[in-house]
């Protein structure tokens, strides 16, 4: 999974500004398919550290149960044996940084599933955005005095 994280963030971080340097991302994992959660946590960590990035990277899982695409699967839905798709997105441009899928899925359903995951990611990006902006305002109030 560390390889997936590396590939995802190489697409987002402006690595040209860091010649001959290495950026380490440490993630505490609690087992299971947590790539999506790790990506979201790492995005916030990178924004907090002041590392230049093109955009946020928001990730979400999506699944297909009885002809209905579901977004943001819980543990029971993930381990149920059905399809699970993890999608990492750069919200503003709509570029996909990571697409990972388990189990089999009929080709016709793929588009609907990706649509559902992208909508969920965009919603998530708004939440992340709100949190970061609030933190920015709080700190700017403190440093203003």
């Amino acid at each position: 999974m560390s390889l997936h994280l590396k590939q995802t963030f190489e697409a987002a971080v402006l690595t040209e500004l860091y010649p001959r340097s290495q950026i380490d991302i440490y993630v505490k994992e609690d087992g299971g398919k947590t790539t999506a959660r790790c990506v979201n946590a790492a995005t916030l960590a990178l924004v907090d550290a002041g590392i230049p990035m093109r955009d946020y990277v928001c990730a979400c899982t999506a699944g297909f149960v009885e002809d209905t695409p579901l977004a943001d699967l819980c543990h029971a839905e993930e381990s149920g044996g059905g399809t699970a798709l993890a999608l990492a997105l750069l919200p503003r441009s709509g570029n996909i940084a990571l697409l990972q899928m388990d189990a089999r899925l009929h080709q016709d359903h793929l588009d609907a599933l990706i649509e559902a995951a992208m909508t969920a990611c965009k919603g998530l990006s708004k939440v992340l955005d709100g949190v970061v902006r609030q933190h920015l305002e709080e700190v700017s109030v403190l440093t203003r005095d």
Binding site: R20, E137, S140
Partner: protein, 295 residues
């Protein structure tokens, strides 16, 4: 021995209503935000061009100087500028230079030709000097230095060509964020409470007991190993806790703010200063005094 424990507390949101008028002045951006579509601007740090639109790459405040737009992030590694005073730790001893860690993106470089030789002689550095480098500065030593120049990849070149810079002896190092240290004319202060402080621009702050007399001939390599008195140690511990309190509340660090915080904390015990409620009380008092001082 009694140990005090506390449960994690909910983060209190800072009241923004108090400074509504000021909030509009600051243009805050997050990565991916378009700053402007006007092509007349030059792009500075913290931005990148995305199809003719100037976009922010870090979360912070937009700074505009004439035609240059840059974004200053809240928290970042130290970006050196020529003339800054920094405190660093030697990480490597190489052929004709030392590598110094200064909380920046790349290790800084201290060339052999940029240090004063012990004894204060002025001569060309010979092969013997190169071999004796380890006698002057070893891995793990702390030094105070000034930024001489910046290499093209962003690494800093330091020099200790003055008697006030050099190896640091006994004292306490406090690590804070570089953005908290205020830029001033001098960064070496002898505080009236009985200790001395060096506020490095890179966020490293060094507290040490005020030296009794200055050793001029030593050339910056003599470190006094005499035991430090208990009263000096207490002053330094109190200052260290005050610095951590100031950094936690993002108050700019300079000699006046450190001194006011120290005086405000005298009513509490040293170990109590780091408790959240007491920290808030002390910082509030410090802020009030600072506002009165400026007003």
């Amino acid at each position: 021995m009694a140990v005090e424990m506390r449960l994690p507390a909910v983060h209190k949101p800072i009241s923004l209503a108090a400074s509504q008028s000021n909030r509009d002045d600051k243009h805050l951006v997050v990565p991916g935000d378009v700053i402007t579509s006007d092509t007349g601007f030059m792009r500075g740090h913290g931005t990148y061009m995305d199809e003719d639109r100037l976009t922010a790459s870090v979360a912070g405040e937009v700074e505009r100087v004439n035609k240059l737009i840059c974004v200053r992030p809240l928290k970042t590694r130290y970006n050196g500028e020529v003339g800054d005073v920094v405190i660093g730790r030697i990480t490597e001893v190489q052929q004709k230079r030392w590598k110094v860690e200064t909380n920046s993106r790349l290790d800084s470089v201290l060339l052999l030709s940029s240090v004063n030789l012990p004894g204060g002689e002025l001569r060309r550095r010979s092969a013997q000097d190169e071999l004796a480098m380890r006698d002057y500065l070893q891995e793990g030593d702390l030094i105070s230095a000034e930024v001489q120049s910046i290499f093209s990849d962003g690494a800093l070149s330091l020099h200790t060509r003055s008697l006030k810079y050099g190896k640091l002896g006994q004292g306490v190092l406090v690590l804070v964020s570089p953005s908290i240290v205020k830029r001033q004319k001098t960064h070496f202060h002898n505080l009236p409470c009985g200790a001395s402080i060096i506020l490095g621009n890179n966020g490293y702050v060094w507290l040490y007991p005020t030296p009794g007399h200055q050793d001029e001939e030593a050339g910056g390599y003599y470190t006094s190993m005499e035991p430090v008195s208990l009263s000096d140690r207490e002053v330094i511990s109190r200052l260290r806790n005050c610095l951590l309190a100031l950094a936690a509340h993002k108050v700019l660090l300079y000699d006046t703010s450190v001194l006011y915080c120290y005086e405000a904390s005298l009513t509490h015990q040293i170990k109590d200063i780091l408790k959240p409620e007491i920290m808030e009380e002390i910082i509030l008092e410090t802020r009030q005094r600072l506002v009165e001082h400026e007003g």
